[in-house]
Symmetry: C2
Subunit: 348 residues, 2 copies
Amino acid sequence: MSKQRPTIADVAQRAGVSKGAVSFALNGRPGLARATVDKILAAADDLGWRPSNRARSLSVSKAFALGLVITRDPAVLSSDPFFPAFIAGVESVLSSRGQALVLQVVTAGEEEEAGYRRLAQDARVDGVFLSDLRHDDPRIALLTELGLPAVTLNRPDGTSPFPAVILDDRPGTAAVVEHLVELGHTRIAHVAGPPAFVHATARSTALLSTLAAAGLEPVAVETSDFTAAGGIEATRRLLTLSQPPTAIVYANDRMAIAGLGAAQAAGLTVPDDLSIAGFDDSELAEYVHPGLTTVRADPFAFGEAAAQTLNLVVDGATDVPDVELPPAQLVVRRSTGAPPSLGSPSPA
Amino acid sequence: MSKQRPTIADVAQRAGVSKGAVSFALNGRPGLARATVDKILAAADDLGWRPSNRARSLSVSKAFALGLVITRDPAVLSSDPFFPAFIAGVESVLSSRGQALVLQVVTAGEEEEAGYRRLAQDARVDGVFLSDLRHDDPRIALLTELGLPAVTLNRPDGTSPFPAVILDDRPGTAAVVEHLVELGHTRIAHVAGPPAFVHATARSTALLSTLAAAGLEPVAVETSDFTAAGGIEATRRLLTLSQPPTAIVYANDRMAIAGLGAAQAAGLTVPDDLSIAGFDDSELAEYVHPGLTTVRADPFAFGEAAAQTLNLVVDGATDVPDVELPPAQLVVRRSTGAPPSLGSPSPA
DNA sequence: AGCACCGTTTAAACCGGTTTAGATAGACCT
DNA sequence: AGGTCTATCTAAACCGGTTTAAACGGTGCT
C-alpha cells in the first residue's frame, strides 16, 4: 500500500543517480549528459513524481502563490461584477504555472493593513494585486516597507515602485456623455463614486471635461458610494432639484440600476422622462427594464494582464513596463433616449 | 542590516537552550520547566519571532490553508451574491487561526475535476469546501479518492464521508408560497434552477409540496439556469401561456429581477398584474422597482460554520456532526400583491 | 555505594527539495 | 608518464521548523 507520493530520492534511486542530479535534470540545468537526463525523466515519469512545493517553498524561499486582498464591506462587495471575472482571468495565468491564488476579504480600516501584513509575515504569497487604488494610497508605502512585490490596477497618482496595469475608464465615460449630448441632452447630472478612489475620480473628471468640451456644465454632481442604497439616495436628491436633470450618468451599474428603480418609483418613465447610464455592464444591466446603457470593460483580460505583469516582477525582472489595456466600450441600450423637450411629450 | 526574520535557532541561542526546547515551549508541550518556558517565550518575543509556515508545512505535512473551487462560467458567477459573503465568513474563521484561503475559479466540465486534483496534488490545502452540491455529485468520490477532507454545503443525497453544513431552503420557499396563497393567488408558476443542483430541486420540491398542501397545482414549472438571460426566457414563456400565472416564484434573485424586467417590458405592472418573488435577497433586490419580495439567508454565517466544521475534520476529528443553520426568512416587499381579479382592476 | 527513577534538556534525524563544493574519469597535451 | 582541462556526477549542507531517542542531573531507596 505505498500510497505515499514518491519523493525526489525515489526517483534518484530508480534512475541510479543522486538527488542532486535529479534536481538538475528536472529543472533543465546544464551539466548533465543527455542520456542521464533522459533516464531521470523516464524514472520520474514512471513513478508519477510531482515536486512537493512545500519543500520547494522552503528551499527557494518562494510561495508559488499570489495574493489578492479585497477591501470591502461584505454587503458592498456582494454584487460587484468586477472581481469574479478578474479572478478568473488571474487564474487562467496562474494555473498553467502551478501557482495558487490566496484571497483575503477584509473590512475597510485597520483590518486592511493587517491583511497585507499577515500575507507578508506569513510569507503566504510572492506578490499581491493592488485593486481599488486610492489617491495617495497608503498601501503603496506599506507594501514597500513589507518588501512585497505588487502591481497596481490602474495608475497611482504619486510615484510608485510597482508596475501599473491600466484600463482607462475615461474614453468610455466620454463616450457616454457624447452619446447623451448627441441625443440632445443639456441637463446632465452625475452620481460619482467615493472621491478617494482613483477610478471614481477618473470617471468624474472625464465626465466633466467631456461636458465642458461640448460647452456644457453638469446640473449637479452627487458623490455617492457605489452601492445600490447610495444610488437611490443620490437619485432622489437629483430628482427633487428645482431644475432636475434629463439624464443621469452613474459611476457604476449598481447605483444606476438602483437609480432606475428610484426614478420609476417616483413615477418617471425611463428613458422618456429621464435617461440613465451606468458603468461596468454587469449581468443585470442587459435585463432590467429598460436595458441599461452602460460601458463595458473586460475584467477577465484585466486579470490576465495583471497576473502576467505581477509574475514578471515576482520573477525578478526590473523595470517592468506598465500595461495599457483596450479601454471600455459604450453599450447603448434602452435606458437612454432623447430628452423630454425634444422627444415624446412629457406626460400630463 | 539584519532585515532577515529571526529563526527558531536565533530564539534558541538567545534563550540559551536548544532548538527542540524552543519548539516545545512555543507549542505548549509539557516536559519543560516553567522557568525555561518563560525564558524562551521572552526571547521569542524580544526577537519578534514568527514561525515560518513554510518550514512548518514541510515538517508537519500540513498546508495551513483551505480551498474553495468555484465552478462557474465567469459570466454566471459574476453577480452571484452568495460567494462574496460566504468567503468573508470563511475568512473570519481562518484569519484567527493563521490559515489562508486558496481560491480557484474553473469553468464547468473537465476543468472542475482538474481543479480539485491540482489542489490535492500540489498539497496546497488541507481541505476544501464543496459548494453548489449536485445530485450524485461526482466530486464526493473524487475527493474521497484524493484523500482530501471536505465539508459539503448542504446535504448530498447519497452517503457521504464528509460532514454537511446545511442551510435549509425549504422553509423560506414554503413561506413565499404561503404568502402568495394568502394574498389570494391560485395561478402560481415557478422558474426553477438546473435540476442537477441539490439546492435547485430543494426549492422546487418545497414549492410544489407547499402548493399541494394548499390544494393547488402550479400553472407551470419552467426549468432555467439561475442566470438573468435564463430568467428572461422562462418568463416570456410563462407570460405567453393561454392561462398565464398571476404570480411567479423564481429560484433566485437574478432570474427574478430579470423576470421583473421582462414582465415590465411586456407591458405588465408588478404587482398589480403579476406578482414576482425571488430567492437570496441580493443587494439590488431591495432597490429595483418595485422592491423584490424574496428570501434572505445568511451566507456569512454559512461561511463561518463551514470553515469551523471543515477545520474540525482537518484537525482529525472523527464523526463530526452535521451543522444546521437557521433557515432563510421571507422578506416581503412591493413586488407581490393581490392577484388581478381580487385587487386593483386589470388595466383596460 | 549502587541503583532505579523522575523531570528536564539536548542532539540529531527528518520533512523534500535546491545548491555548492568537490570527486571522478576520460581526453588531450607535452 | 605526468599534468591540466573539461564534462559529468555525487555528497553534503541548507532552508526552518518538529519529533524521537538518548543524555543528564538530582532524589530517594535499599
